[in-house]
């Protein structure tokens, strides 16, 4: 197992280098630059701005400087949009917020999603299947920019239980976590229902029942382990998305998370910030996928590390 993990980590390095290189050149070749503003700056000011950010040098040289700083110090350089902060600081400030919200959302998603999925799978094609699955279908179809404002409208504006937006007190976490968690709960419900149905029809479950194992034991001990496999595969990349924040949810609820930077950095052509978010996200996805692979082998005796 250790060998497997070490090999996978080593494989990660060229992947990240390729991601960094591609992103660097794509950003630089896109039209527009960070110093374009509606009010044109004088040529002298522009020259000095470019000199400060090292953009007056030839592109290959800029690329090597950037890669050197990245590899040796993990430094993405200054943000052109927020001159008194570095990209590392901006990610450092905002990622914990997205992570916190992400963890709440995943907890909500797993709690409601798994229970709904299992209930549905145990009584397929009955009311206790149709009701949660219809809800899940609605959850999948409704985008966050509909659910979010809807929750705000009901719970903040009509009932006055929450603030309409912000990230100040603990109760400010509830509505965004429900918005984000709700969508993923819907996916998880459908995936776990499918997984469970498949497992419950297999021979070893029939054997377990024939041996006289209790229903509880059949579900938790025998079925759930296999039934969860599709959910685990889904959770890997999904979690990377959840914990790095959602632009939409963060904008609707005015949350100071990382998700917004993915979009605003590109709008502002803040190249350091674009590189920072992309590489950070790529690293997370790779790490989480690795964890998922390990967990899958552990859950599924048919798989082996190789």
């Amino acid at each position: 197992m250790l060998r497997f993990i070490v090999r996978r980590i080593l494989e990660t390095i060229p992947v990240l280098l390729i991601v960094a290189t591609l992103t660097f050149f794509m950003v630089r070749l896109a039209p527009g630059n960070p110093f374009d503003t509606e009010r044109a700056v004088t040529p002298e000011v522009r020259k000095n701005l470019e000199a400060f950010y090292g953009r007056d040098k030839p592109l290959p040289q800029q690329y090597f400087t950037f890669m050197k700083n990245l590899v040796t110090r993990g430094d993405f350089g200054p943000s052109t949009r927020y001159p008194n902060r570095t990209v590392n600081e901006l990610i450092g400030e905002s990622f914990p917020v997205s992570l916190e919200l992400g963890l709440y959302s995943i907890a909500i998603a797993l709690f409601f999603g798994l229970i709904a999925g299992v209930i549905a799978a145990l009584r397929p094609n009955t009311l206790s299947d149709y009701v949660p699955m219809s809800l899940a279908m609605i959850g999948i179809c409704l985008p966050t920019f509909v659910i979010g404002p809807l929750l705000i409208l009901i719970f903040a504006l009509m009932l006055g239980w929450f603030n309409a937006s912000g990230w100040f007190s603990p109760i400010d976490r509830v509505l965004p976590a429900l918005t984000m968690g709700g969508i993923y709960a819907a996916y998880i419900a459908r995936l776990s229902r499918g997984g469970m149905l498949e497992v419950l029809n297999q021979d070893f479950i029939r054997t377990a029942r024939a041996k006289g194992a209790s229903e509880k034991r059949v579900i938790f001990k025998h079925a759930l382990r296999g039934g969860l496999l599709p959910v685990i595969s889904f959770l890997g990349p999904a979690m990377a998305g959840i914990v790095t924040g959602s632009f939409v949810v963060e904008t609707i609820f005015q949350i100071p998370g990382l998700g917004r930077y993915f979009v605003t950095a590109a709008f502002n052509r803040d190249d350091g910030m674009i590189m920072g978010t992309v590489i950070f996200y790529a690293t997370l996805i790779i790490t989480l996928n690795l964890i998922v692979d390990v967990v899958q082998v552990w859950l599924n005796p048919k798989l082996k590390f190789e």
Partner: protein, 541 residues
Amino acid sequence: MKFAKLFYFGSLLVFLATLGCGGRQSRVEHGNQNQILHYGNGTEPQDLDPQIVTGVPEHHIIIALLEGLVMPHPKTLEPQPGVAETWKVSDDLKTYTFNLRKDAKWSNGDTLNAHDFVKSYQRMLTPTLAAEYSYMLHVMENAEDFNTGKIKDFSQVGVKALDDHTLQIQLNSPTPYFLSLLSHYSWFPVHLPTIEKHGAIYERGNRWTRPENYVGNGPFTLAQWKRNQVIVVKKSPTYWDANTVRLNEIHFYAIESDDTEERAFRSGQMHITQTVPLTKIEVYKKDNPHLIRIDPDLGTYYYRFNTRKAPLDDRRVRRALAMAIDRDSIVKNVTRGGQIPAHNFTPPETAGYTSDANVPYDIAGAKKLLAEAGYPDGKGLPPVEILFNTSEAHRTIAEAIQQMWNKELNVNARLVNQEWKVYLDSQQHGNYQISRAGWKGDYPDPNTFLDMWLTDGANNQTGWSNPEYDRLIQEAGRTADRDKRFDLFRKAEAILIDELPMLPIYFYTRVYLIHPSVQGWYPNILDNHPYKHVHLESPGK
């Protein structure tokens, strides 16, 4: 079924937990009791260094933290004493001598003196800082040469500390709007010793603007900066006029989405918003007219014509297109925010100047001009392209104009939207035919609207050039007499409106929501509200 029970029980728990949160005091109510203003401030500020930033949200915060030589009157914007107690102007209107008040202090207790201003202006103009607003200081003698590196010795620039409390500024030419310029943050002083402590003085990326480091001289001090969330400023005990200041704190919220902001306002989280969603304007006007305000704004929404390319190199075609637009209908049916139809470029009553130039709404005239240009009834005219940055608001306006041209002139227009930076790039490099634009004045004077159309001006971007226009604007720059100066501007604007390198559409207004408890918030064209005159009163009191 046990799982079902667990599921429903869990849902019930969440529901009950949420029940317990009701009946709280809103942020606005709490603010009213404690003189804390909650202010929706649009995008997250880039920085709070007045010599680095360029935006409006930054302006709102910086005027709380720093104060210049003069400050605008909250209603009329007339220059009032700020750090300068009194000032004298020489007979040729080129030398200003400011007497600084002796009780002016920095928030760390240091005395603020004339040398601070000289050093601040030196930093602002030093090329390596690359201050985008450095051109605001170019009215000072030799400032531009120092800024562009032509001279290296700052003592040649027209600003001197005659003694600790006397500052003299020498101008290139009589500049009637000079005192209004001073209310702009590019002219505010900064505390050099603090800047030096936290990084290179003449470079970007200095860390002095963090709350733990910030030293200012304004009515408030920086207490907290939560990125993308809130900036809190607290009343400064060292401010010379602290007795006038009635607010204890101002909380500036970074809210980009106008829908989010409106909901925050509705739920009592905000006293003042930056904007109102387009779809809500009518609703507020009808149901809650006391909460919505529409103030005039110093800005023009217009389209640039690329005069370097046929067929828009033909003045007659440009005029025909401009004359076929029903601006009244656009502001009444499309923008709906009380905007004023623009038939010229400078907003009316800009520092007392109103242009008499006028692009009429005249379909018959437009048709005639188009025929004269060789396109009778629009025949033979290739489709024109309207470029705008991706946004629903710009699209609806462009669609309205597209329809008007099609219906009245039989001219086909194609709409092209581009992402913001791509659009800026296309505009700067002349890769467009017609392009949406907006211009907001930097200071209340027609010059800020008219000098941008000088030949090869950085913000001209249309390729248009007219020697007589250039001459008139330059002469106005040398003229001290107000009436003569305005006459020159009127003549220049008449040329501009006759040739139409751009197509004026409407003059901006500022539409926002404001809680009735906010007092001392007067409408003015620069959206400048000195906070020391603002306070909160609980309604019904």
